[in-house]
């Protein structure tokens, strides 16, 4: 192959790659929503419940990774943002679950105490 032809192929390939990267929009809105989910999990008691805290940390890490990828790999950034949202929502739910479980145990203890009278 001649040098000109090789150059043309390289340029075309680079253009194609650039086209693919730019064809996926940056997940800015989704990222903001994920950040809000993380904030709700933090405020909802996740840091004080071990299981919830673990998923909250994963959400925060995924959120940072996705932020770093926006612009370079919007598709992966979007899926990582989705992971961050799923982790954050799960963290908040686990915190609520622990609280509800505590309330149920307390209610059972109160009932047992009253029954023993």
């Amino acid at each position: 192959m001649k040098p000109k032809a090789v150059f043309a192929v390289v340029v075309a390939s680079a253009g194609l790659v650039a086209a693919c990267a730019s064809s996926f929009p940056p997940p800015n809105d989704e990222w903001a929503a994920a950040q809000a989910d993380v904030g709700r999990a933090q405020a909802g008691g996740a840091p004080s419940v071990p299981d919830a805290r673990l998923h909250l940390q994963l959400a925060e890490e995924d959120l940072q990774k996705s932020k770093a990828l926006i612009g370079d790999d919007n598709h992966r950034a979007a899926t990582l943002t989705g992971v961050a949202r799923a982790e954050a929502v799960l963290a908040l739910s686990l915190a609520k679950e622990a609280e509800a479980d505590g309330q149920a145990r307390q209610a059972q203890a109160d009932l047992a105490k009253a029954s023993a009278k």
Binding site: R76, T79, G82, S93, E97, A100, A107, Q108, L111, S115
Partner: protein, 295 residues
Amino acid sequence: MNWNRFAVLAVPVTLVGVAACGGERIPPKALADARADYYQARDGVAARLDPTDVHEADIALQKAEHAWENAPDEPSTIDMAIIADRKALLARSVANTMKSQQDVQAASAQLEALKTQQLASAQGRLSSTQQALGATQMQLEQQQAAAALQAQQLKDLEAKLKDARDTIAKIASVKDDDRGMVITLQGEVLFKTAKFDLKAGGMAKLDQIADALKGKDAPIVVYGFTDSVGAHDMNMGLSQNRAQTVRDYLVSKGIPQDLVTAQGKGPDSPIADNTSIEGRAMNRRVEIVVSPKKI
């Protein structure tokens, strides 16, 4: 080498090698976890309590399976498997929360019912106690009223007896001791020697005594006494007969018979020296004891 044995070993090894190369690919751990957690959510309490999140987990798992089928080496495939897994865990967590909340409501309802029952029971006990207290108070009031009535009756009787005493003192010896008012009549006044039928003069005194004691409702005991002359048994019999004669006479004059009893004491309770005539005369006597305190 035995070629038959070689063939036996070589065939399975070859088959395993073929299966490994051309068989089903082993899914990544994230996808395996997503499948397992989804099945638990689908088959557990989450399907009943939180079907919406179970459905979303199902959709997420299908996307992850599709990605694994079409682009197994893409990093986003793992991301989608993780998302599917977290949604399955979310469905289970939400269901667990709802279950706990239902448990709280059930326990609270039971607690409320129990408290209501305990309150009713306590109120029942309180009511019983109040009824018993009321009955006791009523009983106490009745006893107090009875005691007050009895005290008033005693006071009235003592007043009546005082009048009787003043009257009787004019015809007989009267004194008070721990038995009550004691009226002493000398034996000679009432009876002839060794006899127990009343003399006319004795009857006259007993008539006045009976009149004075009539209507007083006080218990009366008539005691007969002798001196120490003669056999003891004979004196005991004589004192009993004399006491009985006086008792019967008082009854005949209007003293209620159930209020009067008679008792012979013989020579055993002397009030004077039996060696002198005067002493023996004093010991031969009848005592009429009126006991208001025995009401």
